[in-house]
């Protein structure tokens, strides 16, 4: 659970880790936009974006193998669409979809691996993303670990009492029951968390300690990323065209 959440990586102390989260968010957004607008005519640009992201991850000291592996998480979702296109007689579109999706996931991995989740939320808050949405994201992330460990405990308990998977109750029925219990427990926990917040004076808004401002170098980093990403696309179009 911890490594899936990139916590081991995002706590690093590299210069890239220290960049303002807004800079990294805007940089990632630029790369994603470039990936979305890369078409068949400029497909060599994908190699450029791959190189750009790989250099970024290497400079931050993030393991490249692990990053690539995590990017594959989107494969089950896009493989079906790619196969349909392959059957439909359009192999180049299938490849385009695969490359675009995998590199988009690689971009997200690069962002999450170099930015602690709280800093990411703070960056989004400073970019005027609605606080309510961020509060929901914050709580989902905070309590995902607990929910996951509760689910694992329940799965263990089920295995202990039904080691051979025999009996009249089918697995799906037991799982549905477990999900219902998890929901009820989560609801109860949400109520208790709300009590704990009210007990410490919560008035509907998450207060934050004042933060240091963005350094000039951070914006230079963003400008360089944007220029590189755009240059890759232009070069690829020129090269292919």
């Amino acid at each position: 659970m911890r490594s899936l959440a990139f916590e081991d990586w995002s706590g690093g102390g590299s210069r890239i880790h220290g960049l303002d989260a807004r800079v990294k968010l805007l940089g990632a957004l630029t790369v994603l936009l470039c990936l979305a607008t890369t078409d068949r005519e400029s497909a060599t640009a994908f190699a450029g974006y791959f190189a750009l992201l790989t250099t970024y991850l290497a400079a931050a000291g993030i393991p490249l193998g692990g990053s690539l592996l995590r990017s594959l998480i989107v494969l089950p979702f896009v493989a079906g669409i790619a196969i349909l296109n392959l059957w439909g007689g359009d192999p180049s579109l299938a490849i385009l979809i695969l490359l675009r999706s995998l590199l988009s996931a690689y971009t997200a991995v690069a962002l999450l691996a170099t930015t602690p989740f709280p800093a990411l939320l703070r960056g989004l808050e400073r970019m005027l993303v609605p606080p309510f949405l961020l509060m929901v994201l914050h709580f989902v992330y905070r309590y995902l670990f607990l929910l996951s460990s509760q689910a694992q405990s329940m799965a263990r308990a089920r295995k202990c009492r039904a080691p051979l998977r025999r009996g009249r109750t089918p697995l799906w029925k037991a799982s549905a029951g477990a999900i219902a219990v998890l929901f009820a427990r989560s609801y109860g926990r949400a109520e208790r968390i709300h009590h704990a917040m009210l007990a410490r004076g919560f008035q509907g808004r998450f207060p934050v300690l004042a933060e240091t401002g963005t350094q000039r170098g951070d914006w230079f980093g963003l400008a360089a990323t944007v220029m590189l990403a755009v240059a890759i696309q232009i070069t690829a179009r020129f090269w292919m065209g």
């Binding site: 926990r189 208790r192 917040m197 004076g201």
Partner: protein
Amino acid sequence: MSTSAIIQVTNLRYSYPDGTAALNGVDFQLDLGETVAVLGANGSGKTTFLLHLLGLAEGKNEGEIVVCGMPVRKKNLAQVRQKIGMLFQDSDDQLFMPSVEEDVAFGPLNLGLSPDEVRKRVKESLGQVAMEHVASRPPYHLSAGEKRRVALAGVLAMSPEIILLDEPSTFLDPPAKSSLIEILQSLSQAKILVTHDLILARRLASRAVYFEHGKITAEGDVEEVIEAAGWDGVSRPSAVAAR
């Protein structure tokens, strides 16, 4: 209300929204600087009682609760919650911010204090529970004992006059429990300690009350109440004396 009482509860009655009676006429008093253990079986109304002191229970109640001279009513809740801090039974319910420092700062920031004052309070309260070294860590990576101490720091950062402790030794191993007891003993605030842990009650409390079916059925010296409740392993539970 006597001059030394900082909490005075008179004839408190409360039923859950589904109609189940939870508190059936509770009379209680907490004096300045004292620690009272609240004992009782599961479901006897102890935690519900604590939630009422903070104005956190949903629905209507009857009777009166006065905290530091203020009736616990909607218009006073902000001030009441400044006077009372509560350590919840499950620290994971209480530690919801991304880092320990931010979590401890949550209460003081809600009080509208300046960032410098908040940082000072965070440092002091983490120092009180010997947890300064985890300030930058996410709370969910701490051990149960560490979480409990950080949660207590979050309460102390609000400088309360009264601390409510709901089963503070739950999930703690013996060394963590001893350490928590030492910290709690060093605090000058008045405390209400809800517990099943008789070691904790004996070491911290000067007085005890026993809850049964939403009522206090025995009160007095800790040992006497333990004996009257039949929790000493000798007496029978039915020996609980009527008040």
